[in-house]
């Protein structure tokens, strides 16, 4: 069911020999990958393989020990963390990272406003422009939180906070979406919703998805990379990867044991 991908689409993000060491630990060792526009690139691997670390490097949260990151062929590894987002690289976090005291809508408005500008306008009311609210509401509705827009974020359940997390990234309207386990902690229905959403989005954005929910990853990925212990194990289409014995051993386990 995976549409065969033509590799002539634009490379949005590229890593060349990317390394991240924590003291002696090589959390990420010599990773060279390409992420294409309008594709969803899944990344899987056992716990501690360095997936989150990779995303953290791609979004500028960490600085690499060695190696380069190219965004549309420009090196960006040295720019400031906030500049990554300005270039259209948005991310969601594995550990919920929202504004707990603000309403869901306000959470998204902060995100939308970065794109819409006017952040150094000291006098004009933040409430005066309805466009902003609309875009934010739209993002909330996409992830299924439309009905909770005026709830304070701290008061919605964990799973809902995960949904909000994604809505916030969407609200920045990025070109590249880095999603770190977006479905973790979500219920079935919500997961399904996100999967549907990603299905739509993957033809519009360059998406990098880290996820342990195999059903979702297999269903969504155009490309799939497997990492183990900071090393790149293999990259390929879902079918290629699924049948790779090394992947089974390191990650999936033998067929029937996949839960």
């Amino acid at each position: 069911m995976n549409t065969q991908v033509s590799l002539d689409v634009q490379v949005m993000l590229e890593t060349q020999g990317l390394c991240k060491y924590w003291g002696g630990l090589k959390a990420l060792d010599d990773i060279s990958l390409q992420f294409h526009d309008k594709q969803l690139h899944g990344i899987v691997g056992p716990n501690g393989a360095g997936k989150s670390t990779l995303l953290n490097l791609l979004c500028g949260h960490y600085k690499p020990t060695h190696g380069r990151i190219l965004h549309k062929d420009e090196p960006i590894e040295a720019i400031k963390p906030w500049a990554f987002a300005r270039r259209g690289i948005g991310r969601s976090f594995q550990k919920t990272n929202i504004y707990p005291d603000a309403t869901c809508l306000e959470n998204c408005c902060v995100a939308v406003q970065r794109r819409m500008g006017g952040s150094f306008n000291f006098l004009r009311s933040r409430y005066s422009q309805k466009v902003l609210d609309e875009i934010a509401t739209d993002a909330l509705e996409k992830v299924g939180l439309g009905g909770r827009r005026n709830e304070v974020a701290a008061h919605i359940s964990y799973g809902e906070q995960r949904q909000l997390e994604i809505a916030m990234v969407l609200a920045t309207a990025p070109e590249v979406l880095l999603l770190d386990e977006p479905m973790a902690g979500m219920g079935h229905e919500e997961s399904q919703l996100i999967i549907e959403l990603l299905k739509k989005l993957r033809r519009e954005y360059c998406i990098v998805l880290v996820e342990h929910d195999m059903d979702a990853v297999f269903e969504l990925s155009d490309q799939l990379t497997v990492m183990v212990d900071g090393q790149h194990l293999t990259t390929g289409t879902v079918d290629q990867v699924r049948d790779d014995p090394r992947v089974k051993e390191a990650y999936l386990g033998q067929g029937d044991e996949v839960f």
């Binding site: 906030w82 500049a83 970065r114 952040s119």
Partner: protein, 320 residues
């Protein structure tokens, strides 16, 4: 809604009209007018701190540096015996203080939390010792300032700073304007980002904001206003002393702002008036005023969860 809460609206409708009328009743008691003036000046200072600490989450123990700077700057840049214009010097002082804040902010805002508290303290202490060790600036004895600026704009003069009542109204107006200014600021899109940074700086960076810039901006604004308060203080009595810059001044301001209700802005006025009011009445009552002051402060922390403003809000807000 311009003012966030009903409580705030009530407060503003009670406080400012009252303050406006008060001098009429106190006409013969010049002391109370001048006492209220100095409390309002300090409230303005506390308000600028409250914005920094409560809204931006930038806790500083060095804010008094700008308060003192406002005073010393005036002494430095004003000619000794010539008449100067109040508005022009307000502008100069705020600008110079802003420039200083830009440099210091650039350094101190690299740290955060307790480390920032301490590094702001460090800079303030350096400034404190600079003024108190230097003979040119009068050392620990401080300096007298003999000029009183005139206040004309385009040749029209409304105020006479020598007249305590006029000065009172000037300070009241300044306080009111500052409150409105901060309200506007908080309600603005800039304010939205400031709130976001306060709640979750990491997330805000990830969304693409250069949080350093916003913090620096806030720091500069608050510092300039802090200096303006110090300038007003200096004008009131024509006296500057390094103790204006001491960390204890920052500390008292912090106490008043917490007492008033952090981040509520109008709470700064509440906090300052309550604190100063208690201080004034207790010290006239007993030599051991500290004991009662201490007990009252402790009681208030225990009872008020979010300062006086928070308490009032609990009483006055309609349940949603």
């Amino acid at each position: 809604m311009f003012f966030n809460t009903r409580t705030e609206r009530i407060f503003i409708w009670v406080f400012f009209p009252l303050a406006l009328l008060l001098p009429l009743f106190l006409a013969e008691n010049t002391f109370f007018v001048s006492k209220l003036t100095s409390v309002m000046i300090f409230a303005l200072f506390v308000m600028s701190l409250d914005y920094l600490v409560g809204r931006c989450g930038l806790i500083t123990l060095g804010h008094a540096m700008f308060y003192g700077l406002g005073g010393y700057l005036f002494w430095m840049i004003a000619p000794e015996y010539e008449a100067v214009n109040f508005w022009v010097y307000t502008f100069y002082i705020c600008m110079i203080a802003a420039a200083v804040a830009l440099v210091i902010g650039f350094l101190v805002l690299r740290t955060s939390g307790i480390y920032m508290i301490m590094i702001t303290l460090a800079f303030a202490q350096m400034a404190f010792y600079f003024f108190s060790d230097s003979i040119d600036f009068g050392g620990t004895d401080g300096l007298f300032i003999y000029v009183k600026p005139e206040t004309s704009i385009f040749g029209l003069s409304f105020f006479d700073l020598d007249n305590p009542t006029h000065f009172y109204y000037l300070c009241l107006l300044s306080l009111f304007n500052t409150l409105i200014f901060f309200r506007l600021l908080i309600r603005s899109r800039f304010g939205r980002v400031v709130d976001a940074i306060h709640e979750n700086p990491g997330r805000t960076t990830a969304l693409g904001y250069n949080i350093f810039l916003f913090r620096l901006m806030s720091y500069v604004i608050a510092s300039a206003l802090g200096a303006y308060a110090g300038y007003l203080f200096t004008l009131q009595y024509g006296f500057v002393n390094p103790s204006m810059l001491a960390w204890t001044t920052s500390g008292s301001a912090l106490v008043m702002s917490i007492l008033g209700g952090m981040g509520s802005i109008y709470g700064a006025i509440l906090g300052t008036f309550v604190y100063e009011g208690l201080h004034f009445s207790l010290e006239h009552l007993t030599e051991h005023w500290m004991l009662f002051m201490g007990i009252l402060i402790i009681t208030m922390v225990m009872v008020f969860k979010n300062g006086i403003a928070g308490y009032l809000e609990k009483l006055l807000e309609k349940r949603a």
